[in-house]
Symmetry: D2
């Protein structure tokens, strides 16, 4: 890369959770400069938030419409090159479309849109414009997740037979949305979050992780979604039986009422020869069990790992990396790809990140689990 890439941010004002995470992630490697933002719908808050980030006064915008207009008018070597969308789900689609229409690349939080229809429109636009759209399925940024994926792809475990992916959280065990918890409020509101609550918020992560590591696609499912906390409007818990395109079966669990759990995303994948286990709360460890030999502990930062795992690691073994580094890997891979594109150099094939295809597939997951959950039929054919 010859120079830092310039980004603008939509959403992520004071008090926002995921906006702050995005900023740490994009700062980490010194490859990106945040040059402008439309950080809040509230102009006062937008201003104050922009100042906290040391943005120049004239690039703290009051709306994303203003931002696209004014940035487009700046000289090419000054204006932002990509936009980061970190608003709640319902406010993803419009700014993303507008960004693409103005020729800006896009980094967007998941799930990609409010509905599957929006997702498909966005995909069409990306296809037409040839612009880059990155989606922050954070967990695919972990080096040991990439190691696991490589291991499966290389056939180390033999043909895959079984996948268990779990995502228990406990933070919605009470009706927090009625007690002023902002994060809870929009996530449990169908008009802002979409058709699903828990399944949209974290079930999509679990489904993405399962497909990402295994290289398989879900073809059928049988979902049981529950509203456990009385008064809630969207599912806060669920379990899904899965069938994959190679005939393997699986189970996906997601819950936000597993009281006491923090963020225990974990996955086990078994093939004919062995199985692997990765757990997000101890992300530097990948345990691989073998049918007839001692299990092995693969650890981030070691020389015996694959090139792709090493490429997504910043420190030697024993210096734990975490969620923010995984997030930063998405950004790093996105901007290095983008820089190569802009500079006309070849893109390193190891630089992967979730794209608009993953975004469509995530929205389809939501559609399918909700439909299956309402059906009395056991198996629901997965439609994208």
């Amino acid at each position: 890369m010859k120079q830092k890439l310039r980004a603008g941010m939509i959403g992520g004002g004071k008090g926002a959770f995921i906006g702050a995470v995005h900023r740490i992630a994009l700062n980490m490697d010194g490859l990106i400069e945040l040059v402008c933002g439309a950080l809040s719908q509230d102009p006062e808050k937008a201003k104050a938030s922009g100042r906290d980030l040391f943005l120049p006064e004239d690039r703290i915008y009051e709306s994303y419409q203003e931002m696209f207009k004014k940035e487009s008018a700046l000289p090419e070597d000054e204006r932002m090159q990509f936009v980061i969308i970190v608003t709640p789900n319902f406010a993803h689609f419009e700014p993303a479309m507008m960004a693409l229409e103005h020729g800006f690349h896009v980094m967007i939080d998941k799930p990609m849109t409010l509905t599957i229809e929006e997702a498909k429109l966005l995909k069409d636009k990306v296809d037409k414009t040839g612009l880059l759209l990155g989606l922050t399925h954070t967990y695919s940024g972990y080096p040991m997740v990439k190691e696991a994926r490589k291991m499966v792809a290389d056939g180390k475990l033999g043909p895959i037979r079984k996948i268990y992916v779990e995502y228990p959280q406990g933070w919605l065990s009470q009706l927090s949305e009625s007690e002023g918890n902002k994060q809870a409020a929009w996530r449990t509101d169908p008009s802002k979050s979409g058709k699903a609550g828990c399944m949209g918020d974290i079930g999509t992560h679990a489904a993405h992780l399962a497909e990402y590591i295994s290289g398989l696609k879900i073809t059928k499912l049988c979902a049981d979604l529950n509203i456990v906390v009385p008064g809630r409007l969207l599912d806060d818990d669920g379990a899904v039986l899965l069938k994959f395109d190679n005939g393997a079966s699986g189970v996906l669990i997601a819950s936000q009422i597993a009281a006491g759990e923090e963020n225990d995303l974990n996955i086990r994948i078994y093939g004919e020869k062995g199985g692997l286990k990765w757990s997000q709360q101890e992300p530097n460890t990948l345990i691989v069990r073998w049918a007839d030999a001692p299990a092995q502990i693969f650890r981030t930062g070691n020389g015996y790992l694959s090139e792709v795992a090493q490429l997504n690691t910043r420190t030697p073994g024993g210096h734990p990396e975490g969620y923010l580094e995984a997030f930063a890997n998405l950004y790093k891979n996105f901007v290095m790809t983008l820089a190569a594109k802009l500079e006309g150099t070849p893109v390193d094939p190891l630089l992967d990140f979730p794209t608009v295809e993953d975004g469509v597939r995530g929205m389809a997951f939501i559609e399918n689990v909700v439909a299956s959950s309402k059906s009395e039929k056991k198996w629901w054919d997965y439609v994208v």
Copy 2:
């Protein structure tokens, strides 16, 4: 207890797995004397097996029929007092019925019978005779399982909302039954094992554990049973969505093709206030998570545990107890109950062990998962 109780064993000859386990368990506390046996259908092997156990020559029988007849003829203070049945499933019912008919109490391996019909007949006989029947759902013998059960019963976790119970094993990842593995051979043969393979062998343990700790009963289920290894005749893998009688939901996983897994039975139960986790492979630890406070690690052998947990423990904290001690707890509780009955003293209410009711319920579980698995309907009403 005034004297050791006298037991006879059916099955469990040389090379048997579970018979040897039963003997260690019954030996451990010095409360039981194995006085006779019909250890194999093969007279030579029966003889040799009996000698290995230092049984008197004249009480090494060639068949259980012979054993019941001859033992019944012995003076009351010499003859065996209860019989232990450790044959494969198909050979449980007849000797158990005959034992009861001859007035002998019974300890029997699980699942209790080959069919639900047999189970019900056995229950009728137990009810009629007033004799004791114990069933070795081993995992309910662990002290931390009993602690967990007490904790739920005392409402520590609040109303239960979610149960995950898992039982992955990997030992049937290959078609071992065709390679001379005796344990595999009968367990995968419908005529010897019953309607279910994996679900009968280990799914029943998982279901029992979930109901035992939670105090809830399964009322509906949605099962996906698979034959993963080509050529196998019974399910070797499965997952079941569950509904319980208080409205809680759950997931039960059982697999024998999870390559590399040993015997990883584990359970998580979440209530409104917190959740617990117990894992059979580290059985002396019970982790209890709280919504708003640090998780706690309860450990076997400590003074802060409930009376029932302490009663089922033999050593102080940090001296790990395991599977054989859990098994021995079933025997200890069974014989102390039996001794109290025989001696006319009151039975300590803390001395629990699985009974014929659990046996019937286990067979019903098999019936219901198999039926649900074949059904295209999502939810199957659990019938006992």
Copy 3:
């Protein structure tokens, strides 16, 4: 073995901790019959304790002197064949000597005697009589300890360079000996426990384990013993720097005031190529780390383990074995060796158990750490 071996017990009356453990251990495999006992110095308690164990009235003795006399007078095929000594340290030597003088083999709790002088006299007697003396350094009975030892002996780790062995407990964090805790009372009383408290009680276990697994011998040490709880008469905490006979160095930690710790004996041994870790509180796992490859998890009960590990295991992988099984392994190996001796058959070389040599070495450890602790010189030459 043609018949069960017959044992008598000295000490271990009602309320004793280690006596009960010995009984479970000797019962477990059905190879030993406890035929008599001198279970307490208090005749009433001796009687009651014997009845609890269902001993015949005429073989519940009031003293070990009486026991040796009367048992010696019984016909050879009735009398006990070996004696088990589970009294406090100060009451080990006399009954052990008397047993040997009467031709009885001996199983004795550790540390072997009150003083090094007694230990040497006992060794002389064993050498002279040719009788068997087993010592219950329990932790060497664990299968994964034996696996570790084999691994080191086979050179898998390369030449050994460093040994860390730790034994923190917390149960003496308060002056429990003044509050009626019997276990604490004798262990902190120099007249009953010997020159050392913590170092004698558990430091000897740690030293034995280090030498047992590594195959090395301590040649120098530098000890820091502390009396942490005011009013205590013997060390309740200590740390020792070690040098071994191959030039390796080490650290031994033992403490009984590590508040909150249960019984966390653990050891790490590093060679040129890799290192191993074993932890008594999760005894079925042996972790082996390699300089340039993923660490491996060796687990009890698996087919990839060495013959000696498998010989000391009773159940398949994933069925956790614990402290009592390790203890039972000492008994099993002792009586199978004894039976072979008595029956004139060859002794299986894999049947190892700690002997009188280990007992002498344990007492020497106590002598040396106490002397070093009092010395102002850094390095103390280890004398046996």
Copy 4:
């Protein structure tokens, strides 16, 4: 803070390990701008390294002398405000002194200098100039380390009795310094690293951590330093017995030949009422054991933690933070303190970071362990 603070870096050119870590750490929170550097003694490499960091051409200096001179000549609102020194130990003192003489604040890697004398001179200069000097004892930046420190300070564990601190690594198990490993080369060269190898590199971290959490000071020690790998010039392994100023004792272990270990810094501290354990490789967990109650698991990012722990955390529970975040905490606390100083606002008392005092104490630790190791006397009085 009104604006980002401006920093310059000395050392840390292409291929350097710790320089890259510093940059990630300073980037993370978007509070610091790296404006210039003297990144290598090799002018070509300095240039190339500066370009990789997108530094302006005219602020990529060929030497730190040039940097101080030219930066001093820039207008106050352009010139760097503090300098970051990430060269090997022997090249810390001169640039640090020069920085202070030119009025620049300093962030410096540990150990602070090559000798204790240099350290004291540096402290004098800091005292005289009133400038800020921060030292990167990274591990004190972890939130759970701060929680542990708070817990001890609040007396939760009672008076401290025992401290075990361990730092095993395996990366110097071979004579890597002779095989072109740059990190190994200078660290094992007395002219570049100082009097100690392993003890200087990682022993100082362990000593700092023990004193930081416990609030105690080492007063005596007994050290055993070893050169295990033949041909090496400095200690690569060692163990130290410790006495603290409240009478507590401890053990410090540091090794770089513990083959297979990554970076397993861990600490256990026991008081009268309980003990805590923290392990750098799983840094988000702090286990606190109690004498008479279940142990507790404190986890980063939870609302039940102290204010200081929360202040040093960026994400909610279950989103693991690691080494880079801990490092970034040092930077964040340093620059927020510096900004307050520069802006004349009050400094938040919770913003702690290691200072020149810690640097002097670290160098004293090296002096004392080396002297003790050469002494035949057991206890060495710790002199600063």
